[in-house]
């Protein structure tokens, strides 16, 4: 029992389950079948959390190497702007092949942005928070230039499918996110890649001396983060069927970092948990949905978020646990630890 309680995923999972139970009672339709696919609050949560899951997934890898990627929101805006601009130029916007090609182009552009971040961090040696701040500031300007300051609307059905479509009774956005999670989990936990990431995060110098291509791995995680952010940007813009370079991915970098931290990954790097990140991202989305569902005005969402962040972060801080809960333990037990 204590081992379950001590698991770092216990509290986030418990809160998530509690929130879902609340939703089960408050929403009229939690999960039902309508028009041949699943429908209801749970499905909305899964669909709505897809962009955040994708961004947070890339962020987890970056943070595992001891870095941070602030540019994800801007990359989302650039990716959505690129895709919508190209699609709006198409003669037939419902041409599946052309739309797929455009999606690939947009993801490639996003990966290129990640490459830029990675090069700044690994080759020039700039602090990650600053290196990615550059693209965060400039990126939204680039997105505005691409869309010429307008909001580009698209009427492409295949593009909209990315966000609102269903496949095998499940939302396509959720399936895309799941595929990404499975892919990354396999790559990091079934190959040595995860170990190498943690090694670079632990100490780049030591891992370079041990023969690990620390520089290449660092660049790679930023490229992956950029590509996933681009994919998230596509889902976001497909959902609203337009490119909004100001609102797309606004402040998502903070939510993503939060999801990673809730999932138990330390910001100093060297260790990461993909399952934790996924739980964290879904928890954040569920929290926003629940606050509205319970009847609290949506303007209070941020307050709830703040309370959850403070509670979770403090509960994960070993110093806090020792200072607050240490007092309840019997004195001799504490004293016995001192000589050892």
């Amino acid at each position: 029992m204590t081992s379950i309680l001590k698991n770092r995923l216990f509290w986030p999972s418990a809160i998530l389950v509690a929130l879902l139970v609340v939703n089960m009672f408050t929403s009229n339709q939690f999960v039902t079948v309508r028009d041949g696919h699943l429908f209801g609050t749970l499905i909305d949560i899964l669909r709505g959390s897809a962009p955040l899951v994708l961004v947070a997934l890339g962020m987890t890898l970056v943070i595992a190497t001891g870095g941070i990627d602030l540019s994800v929101g801007s990359v989302m805006a650039i990716s959505g702007a690129t895709a919508c601009l190209l699609i709006s130029d198409l003669g037939n916007q419902n041409d599946v092949g052309a739309v797929l090609l455009i999606i690939l182009v947009a993801i490639a552009v996003s990966a290129l942005m990640g490459l830029w971040n990675g090069a700044l961090v690994a080759v020039i040696g700039i602090q990650p928070i600053i290196a990615t701040l550059i693209l965060m500031v400039a990126g939204r300007g680039i997105a505005q230039l691409i869309t010429d300051g307008q909001i580009i609307n698209v009427q492409s059905r295949p593009y909209a499918t990315m966000a609102t479509g269903f496949f095998l009774a499940l939302p396509v956005a959720f399936l895309i996110a799941t595929a990404a999670v499975v892919l990354i989990t396999l790559l990091t936990r079934r190959t040595a890649l995860g170990l190498l990431l943690e090694s670079v995060g632990g100490s780049p110098t030591a891992s370079r001396l041990a023969g690990i291509g620390a520089r290449r791995i660092t660049i790679m995680v930023y490229v992956v983060s950029g590509a996933f952010a681009g994919l998230a940007g596509l889902i976001y813009s497909a959902n609203i069927k337009s490119a909004d370079s100001i609102a797309a991915g606004n402040l998502i970098e903070l939510d993503a970092i939060l999801a990673v931290v809730i999932g138990g990954t330390a910001l100093i790097g060297g260790r990461f948990s993909i399952a934790g990140t996924v739980i964290g991202a879904i928890l954040i989305q569920t929290l926003s949905v629940t606050v509205v569902a319970v009847g609290v005005p949506s303007k209070a969402t941020l307050l709830f978020k703040a309370v959850v962040v403070v509670a979770l972060c403090l509960s994960q801080s070993p110093t806090f646990r020792q200072k607050v809960f240490g007092r309840f333990k019997s004195r001799p037990a504490v004293r016995a630890e001192v000589p050892a």
């Binding site: 700044l120 700039i126 550059i134 500031v137 680039i142 300051g149 910001l267 209070a300 403090l314 110093t319």
Partner: protein
């Protein structure tokens, strides 16, 4: 100075010829980022004067301070935090909380001076709370101040989501007051308040024990602790200063626009960080000057002014040019710090 006298006595005479040369070299390297920013500012200004009619008028420079007063005050607080090696993401949200609260309380008929003191204390308290969480519970500054961001903006949105007009007499009087500087050149009180903040901060960092502690902690917090410096007190103090400056920025915002809005100041934390970086404050902490931050704010302000004078460039270019400048300065800083090592 005393260290120079003591070093030879420790028996390392062969190395002593190196010391004087290093001592001469180091300050120069430290000043390079700030001098580069100054040079850039001068080049930008003079080329703008050459290219645009009326750019040379003194009011252009004077208005630079008026338009960027809020950013300046916030960036000064941020400088303290960054000098200790931390970061404060909550400043923009504290501004929105302050403006919303100020406008709401003034609407409710509270005495303006009480409101002023209350919001400034509230901002400082929030900063102090963040500092305490960072120091005592070893939570990353990034996460602790992120929680502060959510909390402050949450409070602001909770109070009121709409823009609230301020009709208070004192606020209006300060807002409409003009200080004549020269023939036809006037400025607003908020610009003066911002400049005074810069001067006080520069003096505190340069000449007080607290200022030296800030630099010491930024250089190496563990060493500072072993030296017996009050690390905890100083660290909490810098976040308190940052919270106070953000609240003051919010007050200036509410004076300038005579309104309060929960979305005011969003994204300002990153503008402030960018201004610090352009001004040569190292994000690893321990190196930088408030005057550099002032130059950083002026550079971004000047870019905006030039874009307004140009007329046919849209605001997207401001972001891109600031990004390019950030890049240039960071690479330069990187080269400079590498040389010093």
């Amino acid at each position: 100075m005393t260290t120079v006298d003591i070093t030879p006595e420790t028996g390392k005479k062969p190395e002593s010829p190196l010391n004087p040369r290093r001592r001469v070299y180091r300050p120069n390297a430290k000043y390079i980022p700030i001098l580069a920013t100054l040079a850039l500012l001068v080049i930008m200004y003079s080329s703008a004067v050459a290219n645009y009619e009326n750019f040379g008028q003194p009011s252009v420079v004077v208005n630079l301070f008026r338009d960027n007063a809020v950013l300046l005050v916030v960036a000064v607080g941020m400088t303290f935090v960054i000098l200790t090696g931390g970061i404060d993401l909550s400043v923009g949200a504290v501004i929105s909380m302050t403006t919303t609260l100020t406008a709401t309380l003034l609407q409710g008929g509270w005495p303006p001076l009480v409101v002023l003191v209350l919001v400034l204390v509230l901002g400082s308290l929030l900063g102090a709370g963040q500092g305490a969480v960072i120091h005592y519970f070893k939570v990353e500054p990034f996460i602790a101040t992120l929680a502060g961001l959510f909390l402050a903006r949450g409070i602001a949105l909770f109070i009121n989501q709409d823009s609230i007009p301020i009709r208070d007499g004192m606020w209006k009087a300060i807002s409409e007051y003009r200080i004549p500087l020269a023939d036809g050149v006037v400025t607003k009180p908020i610009a003066i308040i911002a400049l005074v903040t810069v001067l006080i901060a520069a003096a505190v960092l340069a000449w007080t024990r607290f200022g030296r502690n800030v630099y010491a902690i930024g250089g190496n917090a563990d060493s500072a602790l072993l030296m017996g410096l009050p690390v905890g007190r100083t660290r909490i103090a810098v976040y308190t200063i940052s919270g106070f400056c953000a609240a003051l920025g919010g007050v200036l915002f509410s004076i300038n626009s005579t309104s309060g809005w929960a979305l005011q100041g969003s994204g300002l934390e990153l503008d402030a960080i960018a201004a610090c970086v352009i001004g040569g404050v190292l994000l690893t902490g321990g190196s930088g000057y408030v005057l550099g931050t002032l130059l950083g704010v002026l550079v971004t302000g000047l870019i905006q002014t030039i874009i307004i004078f140009q007329g046919d460039l849209n605001s997207a270019w401001t972001r891109i040019i600031v990004g390019v400048l950030l890049f240039a300065f960071i690479v330069m800083q990187r080269l400079v710090t590498r040389k010093v090592k």
